[in-house]
Amino acid sequence: MRFARSLVLLLGFAFLYGPILILAAMSFNASKLVTVWGGFSTKWYVALLDDAATLNAAKISLSVAALSAAIATLLGLAAAVALARFGGFRTRGLFFGAVHAPLVLPEVVLGLALLSAFVAFGFERGFVTLVIAHATFTMCFTSVVLLAALRGLDPSQEEAAMDLGATPMRAFALVVLPAIAPSLASAFLLAFTLSLDDLVIASFTTGPGATTLPMRIYSQVRLGVTPEVNAISTLLLAFVGIILAISALALNRPARDLA
């Protein structure tokens, strides 16, 4: 029984992590061929440093992710506060549904809708439309995380602060915000990684001047497996892995609670 359980776990984790680890190993392979080990080499990483287009795409992706995650966290917080604290205001049902609908919407549909709207509004497509699109599709995730955090909070502390003379604003800033700070951090991180990873919505809503890293990787992947793509992929995996490890340690909570 013990053996069977260990076997299930072993197989499960091998399936989840095997392909990623093989990819990372291959990025250090001196040979261009997947099936031939040509010795350890970091030359593909060095080659990346000369790849201006990829570096530029990485810069754009990081800026878009940081900006859109900040907007999505603020909007998600406002939406969560309204949904958790304002009671049954008019059109609450519509608001709740519209905020959370992108969670179940196929990316192609949302991308299509946003592009049509940007064209109809006469927006020049590029960095700004990209940030707007990413803030829109990650806001539902931040709202879910923050709504859960607010609902898990004991309202009596906030009420006590107000009984002692704090305005609702002050009570929120002094009592509620510190209490949900870890959730704010995980909402931001969730929006950040979702934006960093997005290919479909970005392809619809960006313009020629703002190619993101996933778009750049995608255009190279279509040409086949290359060691350079393996190297940039490994760096991206390591980057997200480090963020994840730091946040898990800092918040002293397992990654599960972040999701």
């Binding site: 989840l16 990819l23 998600g76 809708a113 992947v221 995996l237």
Partner: protein, 305 residues
């Protein structure tokens, strides 16, 4: 269910205004717009459809243009084998992937949920962590494994299990493998939380009353985990139907999934009305399972737990 209405204070209105306005302008309006585009006709204009309304038209102009709207794009889709096949293939591939994922994820989640308590959060944390890493890269990793000259074929041939490479890459099978792999964390999480919540005393009671371990599983563990199974299946089935990246990278030219067909219609053919109509139909297809799930959830909430 009636919700008590109440007037909001000025400050509350200000808090609500920002997300509300954002959602109306950047979500509801765009969705309404594609519903409208789906009723329009393709045209050699910018944007590539007719009619487009503007304030200068006046009421009569708007009415005259509104009369040219119609369901032509939907009728064209209904006659188009490509779209019909795309919808069916998408539903089939998503369904098969969901079933396989459930069979892999259930024993995995069960083992984690029954692990010693101090190990549990570490295990589920590790199982869900890949969700945070790039989806595109996780799909890309499979190309090197599945190709004819890839690692899996290489290993199998080296072990003399097969003589000629299996053609997995660029087939529907490769798409299923890609979906199972990428979406597994979404299936694991709800299953795990449903299984971990179960009171071990229920299983002990069933065993004390003479049930065999298999009977305990079929009649206690599995029925009690039903909400987790439903949540997990929906969480992977719905996005899998609209998937674009996986069929595009791992599928062959014959892999017609609706996300990919829609993408091509939009970018390559520039037929916005057809793509919009396809998107609206896709939404209608996906709302069905969601309503079923919502009913199941409400029923589960009514039962005393």
């Amino acid at each position: 269910m009636s919700v008590p209405r109440k007037k909001l204070s000025g400050g509350q209105r200000a808090v609500l205004a920002a997300p509300y306005l954002w959602i109306v302008v950047f979500f509801l309006a765009p969705m309404a717009l594609i519903a409208k585009i789906s009723l329009s006709h393709p045209a050699e204009t910018r944007p590539p459809y007719e009619p487009t309304f503007s304030i200068d038209d006046g009421l009569a102009g708007v009415l005259a243009k509104a009369r040219t709207l119609g369901f032509d794009a939907y009728r064209a889709l209904a006659d188009d084998r490509l779209y019909l096949d795309s919808y069916l293939t998408s539903l089939l591939i998503a369904g098969v992937s969901t079933a396989i994922m459930l069979m892999i994820a259930y024993p995995f989640a069960l083992t984690m949920a029954r692990a010693p308590r101090r190990l549990r959060s570490l295990l589920i944390g590790l199982a869900v962590a890949p969700f945070w890493t790039s989806f595109l890269i996780r799909v890309y990793a499979w190309i090197a494994l599945l190709k004819d000259e890839g690692l899996i074929n290489h290993a199998l041939m080296a072990l003399h299990i097969i003589d000629a490479p299996l053609s997995i890459y660029a087939t529907n099978g490769a798409v299923v493998i890609g979906i199972v792999y990428s979406y597994l964390p979404f299936m694991l999480l709800p299953l795990y939380s449903a299984l971990e919540r179960q009171d071990p005393a229920l299983r002990e009671a069933a065993a004390d009353l003479g049930a065999s371990p298999l009977q305990v599983f079929w009649r206690v563990t599995l029925p009690l985990s039903r909400p987790g199974v439903i949540a997990g299946c929906l969480l992977v089935f719905i996005p899998a139907v609209g998937e674009f990246v996986i069929p595009d990278l791992l599928g062959g030219s014959e892999t017609l999934m609706i996300g990919r067909t829609l993408w091509n219609d939009f970018f390559a053919n520039r037929d916005w009305p057809a793509a919009s109509a396809a998107a609206i139909i896709l939404l209608a297809l996906l709302i069905g399972p969601l309503l079923v799930a919502e009913r199941a959830r409400l029923r589960a909430e009514e039962e005393p737990s």
